[in-house]
């Protein structure tokens, strides 16, 4: 498929709830809209493979998942050009994107850009987390959604956060056996969350979350207050060790699924030069947005979990609002054709209710964010916590110096799996706030591209429209 209408009125990156919601609005209003996602099919993480999943038994993934089908259908019917398998690897302040699909990269211009690149699971740097057999819980969920695959053998889940319980329930409904769920939520979090209970109690999370917990606890040994979690084995996972109230324990395991919440996927936004700030409640970087949701770069908006974790319904509402803003900017005369802003804002407020409690209750513990000694921090370049602290000792005051000293964060994942750990470790070592320590200076390409593909752009640049039709 070509980038047909280049330059576009609107280019949207990410076809999760936020991106789909935005596209439905802008294309629905008649703006030429390009929606790119590097996954083969639309849906993002929550609605992953909703149009193609082999799981027809609806109760396994649940109603919240299947709700995505309607949203995908709406975006598809809106007239937006939706391209799967398309990786956006650069975006600049002039709103020029570079994207690769079907083996070819091309430049794309848009009058408005909406980034809806969502979230990724927070790094979980414990000893042994690089062993084959250790994955994120979200990875197991993706295998279930896309391929109907479930772990076969001894499965242990560990971590904290509402999604962990959802994953567990979905796996159980799919017939998987879970040896144990190791809950790392610190006891102190329950106290800290108390003030937020009233708002939470009337949110949709309350009833749902408690029901999930009950469903899982009926079928699985749940160990609370887990600390000192380690994955053990030679060349592959053999066992999981941890400390609980009952003392040190070790479980034989074939698969360990880790999860301690999700954080915004900031790489493309930061590489574009959009200003970010440290968000202490969610312990992550979020873009600096003005009251109307604009980033520090004119014409580039961010919607969904990329602005801070709010969940799928909030993401969809934010996406629609960003779409609305794009229509207002590009073709205000078409505003009559789009839904009322007020209604969308109300939907967003409803969806955001209860979030404060989740943030407090499921704040991941320090020990699983601040590794020590030989534990690997940067998986790509195999840099340990000890090495990082040494670098701080000889003058690496921030992540960028650490990178220059150790290549930490310089591998292909570009810090996605180590960046937060690096910021927090340096912050702890220097005794200054994460905001002061800062983050890696991210640069395009946000995903590697082959030299051949880049070389070919030297010719196609002036003839983007002539790119071969698939």
């Amino acid at each position: 498929m070509s980038a047909g209408a280049n330059p576009y009125d609107v280019a949207i990156v990410g076809a999760g709830p936020a991106g789909l919601g935005a596209a439905a609005i802008t294309a629905g209003a008649g703006l030429t809209t390009l929606l790119l996602d590097e996954n083969p099919t639309p849906g993002g993480q929550i609605y992953r493979a909703v149009t193609t999943t082999p799981l027809k038994e609806r109760s396994i993934l649940g109603g919240d998942y299947w709700a995505g089908a309607a949203l995908v259908a709406e975006a598809q019917a809106s007239g937006a050009e939706i391209v799967g398998g398309a990786t956006v690897w650069s975006l600049d302040a002039s709103r020029e994107l570079a994207a690769s699909w079907a083996g070819t990269s091309r430049f794309i211009k848009a009058r408005r850009v909406i980034l809806a690149t969502g979230a990724l699971e927070r790094p979980f740097p414990i000893p042994g987390w690089t062993l084959p057999g250790v994955m994120t819980a979200g990875a197991l969920q993706t295998l279930l959604k896309s391929s109907g695959l479930v772990p076969d053998g001894r499965l242990v889940l560990a971590g904290t956060g509402p999604l962990l319980w959802l994953f567990a329930a979905q796996l159980l409904r799919a017939g998987a056996r879970i040896e144990a769920l190791l809950d790392t939520t610190p006891w102190a979090n329950y106290l800290r969350a108390l003030p937020h209970v009233p708002a939470f109690a009337i949110s949709r999370y309350a009833a749902q979350g408690l029901a999930l917990r009950r469903e899982v606890a009926r079928q699985v040994e749940v160990v609370s207050g887990v600390t000192r979690l380690r994955a053990e084995g030679q060349g592959g996972l053999a066992s999981v060790a941890f400390a609980a109230r009952s003392g040190e324990r070790r479980l034989m395991a074939d698969v360990l699924a880790l999860h301690q919440g999700v954080v915004p996927n900031v790489n493309l936004a930061m590489a574009a030069g959009i200003a970010h700030r440290w968000q202490p409640a969610q312990l992550c970087w979020v873009p600096v947005l003005d009251a109307a949701g604009n980033t520090s770069i004119d014409g580039i908006a961010i919607a969904g979990d990329g602005t801070g974790i709010g969940g799928a319904l909030a993401a969809e509402a934010q996406g629609r609002l960003a779409g609305l803003a794009a229509v207002a900017a590009v073709a205000p005369e078409r505003l009559a054709r789009v839904p009322d802003r007020q209604l969308l804002a109300q939907a967003l407020a409803r969806a955001e209710r209860g979030r404060a409690l989740l943030d407090q209750l499921f704040a991941p513990p320090r020990w699983s964010r601040l590794p020590e000694g030989d534990t690997i921090v940067c998986r790509c370049e195999e840099v340990t916590a000890g090495q990082l602290l040494e670098a701080v000792g000889i003058g690496a005051m921030g992540p960028n110096q650490a990178k220059a000293f150790l290549r930490c964060g310089m591998g292909p994942c570009q810090g996605r799996l180590c960046g937060l750990t690096v910021t927090e470790l340096i912050s702890k070592a220097r005794g200054v706030a994460p905001a002061e320590v800062g983050y890696f200076r991210l640069r395009p390409p946000v995903k590697p591209i082959t030299l051949a593909e880049l070389a070919a752009m030297a010719h196609t640049q002036r003839a983007v429209a002539a790119v071969v039709r698939e």
Binding site: S90, D92, A93, A98, F107, M270, G273, I274, A275, H276, R277, W278, W285, S296, I394, G395, M397, G398, N400, Q401, A404, F405, R407, M410, G411, P412, Q414, A435, G438, Y439, R441, R443, P444, P445, P448, I449, T450, L451, A452, L454, A455, A456, M457, A458, H459, Q461
Partner: protein
Amino acid sequence: MRSTADVIVIGGGIHGCSTALHLALRGLRSLVVEKDYAGRHASGVNAGGVRQLARHLAEVPLSVASMELWERIGDLLDDDCGFESHGQVLVAESEAELDQFRARVAQLRLQGYTHEELIDRAELKRLIPAVSDACPGGVVSRRDGAADPFRTTQAFRRKAIALGATVLEGVRVTGLERRAGMWRVSSSAGAFEAPVIVNAAGAWAARIAASLGEPVPLEVMALMLMITDRVPRFIAPVVILRGRKLSFKQLANGTVLIGGGHQGRPDRDANTTEIDWHKLAESARTVWELFPAMRGARIVRAWAGIEARMPDDIPVIGPSATAEGVYHQFGFCGHGFQLAPGLGALMAELIATGRTNLPIAPFSIARFAPAKGANATPDSTPDLMRTTPGGQA
């Protein structure tokens, strides 16, 4: 805060740090004031080429002198700086180009310099088996090589401190004032005084010069580089081209660094740069043609460093033409990394003894003195107070 040093060095790049180190070796105490951190800009993010090859004739004596220091950099700094000497090769892409190179090498010989050596197709292939068969030969400078730029800058900084220099990072110079034979330097961390100042402020140096009444036509450039993932070792020397913009080297860890002078878009006040992928695509195209083996390699990162360029492509070195006790050391036009060890020694000599044996007349700032009645350049506003909003997180 008020502090006195023998010399205040403005700018903590490799040049500022090298000068501070060599001043310390001569028993002079210096204070380096850096607005970000040492090596944050051009010095820490450059291509690391340690090159005498293909230099401007005026630079050759300085470059050759600096090379002596590179060859014992470990003794000087207690850190080998990742310096490896596998030579640098200027590849000719055509017979006509090779003829030009031949004339240049002959000219150097006449002046007594033998580091550049003309090579034929066979020797080129022996040095760089992966190069395209279409190339008829080139020039090699066998003692050249490459080092790790950030590590080198840090090593200069550390050694300078160990020998008594002070390096203030995150401190911005906001004004200069001459009082009773002393320079009073105001900064975001208070004022400092010293009889001598060195302007080693890189792309920001023109503002310092302008505030001393000698504006210079300094162009801010954002030199771009890109780097691949690790590939097996396949090339030892650094490769450069003359006609098309390319420099190309494989680092010890297997990654391949591709540069050569294409520029991105700098924003000097925001401390940021933006990559121009249209131009990097041209670089990729050149590598694609010259090194077919590289076609499947992956570009994992690109960046640009903010650097100063003078209209005649050579730096400004030496005493101020207008202000007493001021020395300039900036405007390296994208090739100042190799010069830093030697130039630091030269500056220290100049400051301590008032003279040097190396020919620095071509680098005098006086060459830009405006003809009477000429308009000042945009950078001539003595606006040191301009604030930096700071880069993103």
